[in-house]
Subunit: 341 residues, 2 copies
């Protein structure tokens, strides 16, 4: 192989609202890499197989402190991804190992120095590698850990889960049903609504055609609210919160690309004695990691836990996928396959 | 004594914004009571000594579900208060006992059936009875229990405490200082600011003349936020919240009488991983009651815990005090002395 192009998706300029492929991000093939001879300096060379596109990445495009590092103009985007080891000078990985890395740059080949923020995946169940960016990656962990940590779910309670067609929401729906809750779920297309119904949710609606507050008034009050949305949806949840309800604040995508409507019903947090907890998965995952990796792969393998991916082939299209994720037009966990093995 | 007037402060009409004495409430002396012969039906006759006026009462004047019962038009207001037993047919109180009651009607004499929501006060320290509506009553319990339950305070952290000149805030300031925190405190007059400085708060400002967000930006970020205010103050706290900060949502008076400005910075709850907990003291007090009544009276007696009362004599002025509490023009814990012993 020797000298090959090392294609990259560069962060080109900050978006005004929604990211625009070719403007916010540009695909660049100007750099080459000598795969046989590039110096590893004690590290290892990965061929990137797939990278994840997630809503939270929009925050990293802002010119303000984000809770994770901001993207640098002129440098590749980065996010969770999986690669395979081509060469190594690092003792703890060997050629052919698959590595899951939190900061995978959006480029075809990368040299990593060690396993910090990375993990060798065994994949005994022989899943496609993309699964490790979704239900077995950050989104799956997000759903699993935060549900266990914050929901205090009791059988017979009512949960309202937003973005239920997405990788986090769809897993939460299944966790809530497994705990014996009545699940109200919202999604942004009829196709997603069908998928979520098949997961066992009790009440599923398309929030673009059905008023959220009306549904919650009829089907609530809600004991657990899984928020990926914020804005008017959060206000509707506050208006229909049960006494001592738990609001799990995972994200607020309604305010990522445009100004979110301000919140008007927060006063209910006092009267309804609501606990509202914001979290970032990296800070709470550790205590659940062992359970997660013992339990969840089996549940996926035997079909108990279902998931849906929206796979795009080609790193050059990652900017389009980024836009789709922000607009909610993706049809499942958005992942870009950069290369086959 | 025999036949005496049983003066009452009646809820007359719902206020549009701030309650207006003589309009929202009217004082009525049309009823008499025969203290010697009025039938007790197994209960006991109390002479009401003092009643508390608290911000939350505004919510009970609304034509919507409040978290405690709404006031009924034409009936007396009611709230925490202390009375002395004049006659009894109830075994668990005797004549001369002092009873603290959660639902004390704003009237001179009342017959209670039992000790439900009531408690005989021993008052071994010989405090004025008004103290049992303030630092040793609901506001004191509110401060003490919620600080212990929700603050997770660690020495060296920074707390921001609103309405620090009031009975809840001023107690919280002292609890936070006792726990070794740096305390930023806001109050609504220079006189209150002086009082709070004397409690040991590190940074005290008059929020009417100094911009809250500026102070927090300079003195924060804040690890614990005690919210009695909501609105723009809460937004300023959200903008200056430390990672993993705790927001104790005790009240939001900025929205009790007029529409509160909506909240714009709630997105920070995710990025900063904030836990926000609303509570009502009646639901969390029980586990702390024994500690509270063992510990706090001594600390007050020996001067470790300081408090400030704003005492008004005469039930006929309770409507004026209600207005003052909503406008924040009271100078300490607002209490109305209905009668001397």
């Amino acid at each position: 192989m020797a000298l090959v192009k090392n294609g990259k998706l560069l962060f080109n300029e900050r978006p005004q609202d929604y990211p625009i492929p070719g403007k916010t991000t540009v695909y660049d093939e100007s750099e080459t890499i000598d795969l046989d001879n590039v110096p590893l300096n004690g590290g290892y060379l990965l061929k990137v197989l797939c990278v994840s596109l997630d809503p939270y990445m929009r925050g990293r495009m802002k010119d303000s402190k984000s809770y994770v590092g901001g993207f640098e103009i002129g440098k590749p985007l980065s996010n969770f991804g999986v690669g395979v080891v081509l060469r190594t000078e690092f003792d703890n990985v060997k050629v052919g190992d698959h590595v899951y890395y939190m900061g995978m740059p959006f480029q075809k080949y990368v040299i990593l120095p060690n396993l910090e923020n990375a993990r060798v995946i065994k994949n005994e169940e022989n899943f496609p590698w993309t699964v490790y960016t979704g239900v077995l990656g950050m989104p799956g962990l997000t759903a699993y850990c935060a549900w266990k940590e914050y929901s205090r779910a009791k059988k017979g309670e009512v949960a309202f889960i937003t973005t239920a067609g997405g990788p986090v929401g769809s897993f939460v729906v299944q966790l809530a049903k497994a705990d014996g809750l009545k699940v109200i779920a919202s999604a942004g297309s009829e196709e997603k609504v069908e998928f979520v119904k098949n997961l066992g949710a009790d009440v599923v609606f398309n929030y673009k055609t059905t008023n959220t507050a009306d549904v919650l008034e009829k089907e609530g009050p809600i004991d657990v609210y899984w928020d990926n949305v914020g804005g008017t949806t959060l206000d509707a949840a506050l208006a229909n919160a049960a006494l001592h309800s738990r609001f799990i604040e995972c994200g607020m995508i309604s305010g990522y690309n445009v100004d979110a409507p301000p919140i008007r019903n927060l006063m209910n947090i006092v009267g309804r004695q609501i606990t509202m907890t914001g979290f970032i998965i990296g800070f709470i995952a550790e205590k659940y990691l062992s359970d997660f990796y013992t339990e969840v792969p089996k549940l996926i393998k035997n079909g108990t836990i279902k998931y849906k991916e929206d796979v795009t082939n080609g790193l050059e299209y990652a900017g389009h996928v980024m836009e789709a994720v922000q607009r909610g037009t993706n049809k499942g966990k958005a992942v870009v396959v950069v290369a086959d093995e």
